[in-house]
Symmetry: C2
Subunit: 263 residues, 2 copies
């Protein structure tokens, strides 16, 4: 399989999907409620996923597609070539802010990440990677992350996980918030992952993410030396929801050892 050919194809449909989404702001958006009020989904979200699936099936009908909106197949294994797609990561930002939402795509062969993409739709900024060949911010190669101390770190973490919750001991998270230089929260996992791989954040932690939130990002992470795991330190499960941390390699284990106590 020619990865460079697939990479060119992927970039083409991502840029095209981004253009369609930006144009869609001229139309009214139909916003529906998915599982809860925090999980807005729009017609544009679903249309974009359908667009990706149609293009991929035209490209190669053997490729499977796992997508957030469930317009693709039911997938219970990562055997063969599999695309994992989030057409719009950060739906609330999309609806309310018209910015800070990402297209996130990972391409896997037999469960091994080959190509990763995070596209900031409004900025038209593409973070991408090819396994073993490196990562790029648009046409500029991304450098390996430089070592930092925990005291210098700026960490992406939402306030939901700093208060008492069912997933982790929040007292340890409070210690982390006190230790680091600062925290941020942008409301898009893919955006925060893109910030970590490009050194704009030093870690991003979430207690509940889905495969499509992280699939593209974990492939980019490897190429810059960022470490992405679940909060037990294992590889994230790409078929189920899981906890998640991506961090500069000099603080990944340190955060897990000292500040994360999974319930």
């Amino acid at each position: 399989m020619d990865l460079h050919q697939i990479d060119q194809f992927a970039k083409g449909i991502i840029v095209e999907a981004g253009r369609r989404i930006r144009e869609s702001f001229t139309y009214d958006m139909v916003v529906e409620t998915k599982s809860d009020a925090n999980d807005l989904v729009t017609n544009i979200d679903r249309e974009t996923e359908t667009f990706f699936i149609e293009k991929i099936k035209q490209f190669n009908s053997q490729h499977k597609v796992l997508g957030e909106e469930g317009m693709g197949e039911e997938i219970d294994s990562l055997e063969g070539p599999v695309w994992i797609i989030d057409p719009i990561d950060g739906t609330m930002n999309f609806v309310k802010q018209h910015r800070h939402f990402m297209i996130s795509i990972g391409f896997f062969i037999d469960g091994v990440g080959k190509l990763g993409y995070i596209f900031d739709v409004m900025r038209e900024d593409l973070f991408s990677a090819i396994e073993g060949e490196g990562a790029w911010y648009n046409d500029t190669p991304l450098r390996k992350l430089k070592p930092i101390t925990i005291e210098e770190a700026v960490v992406g973490i939402n306030a939901s996980w700093v208060i008492p919750n069912k997933k982790v001991n929040h007292e340890k998270i409070i210690e982390l918030v006190r230790k680091v230089r600062g925290t941020r929260s942008y409301g898009s996992a893919a955006m925060e992952i893109a910030f970590v791989v490009s050194g704009k954040l030093d870690a991003y932690i979430s207690m509940r993410l889905s495969p499509w939130d992280i699939a593209g990002g974990t492939i980019i992470a490897k190429e810059v030396g960022a470490i992405a795991t679940n909060l037990s330190g294992s590889d994230s499960n790409l078929l189920l929801n899981d906890t998640f941390i991506i961090a500069n390699p000099s603080i990944h284990q340190l955060i897990l050892d000292n500040y994360i106590e999974v319930k």
Copy 2:
């Protein structure tokens, strides 16, 4: 005093300062430590403040200037025409992310806000207002904020205020985090204020801000109906550090009454 003339002058120097800052990224930055590691200051920060002061004094030598970097006068009263300037709000973002930092400027006469500006330097996006005449996002008028419920609100608040702290009862803040639709934190007060006045956030709360963090924003706030006060509900003191909330008018008092307990 012709406010429109001063407005044109202010926009001109803001755009020019932004251009100088963007160009400065081609040079190495000297980063020093101010009062603590959270408070980075760069040579560009100071150069930009000096640029503003020189331009303002050329424009009218009677105007006083209060600036974050202390390159202006010592000011103990807001009598007469006073500019309150933050050359770079979000210094850590500036250094680490090369985005998400703002120029924030307010122009006051005898303590009354007349002209307000928040400029996103990298996006070249200007939020501005003229007292009594309205507010703009670049050339587009900003609309009055529409009513929302607390459950629909997205609130800017940093994790530092969600954990035990000296300023407010954090247990009440935890209730707020649980009540609202979501929280965000961008690391620039002026950016979060700009998001509130344009409906991208519904409130922004901080327990410690300086006059230059809020001066420009509070003037824009009035024109769109956003309410900006300290956490006791009084007008913010523009000569001292103070607590701060800016919110959609339908939730400002509700947040103060139910979720804020100043220590």
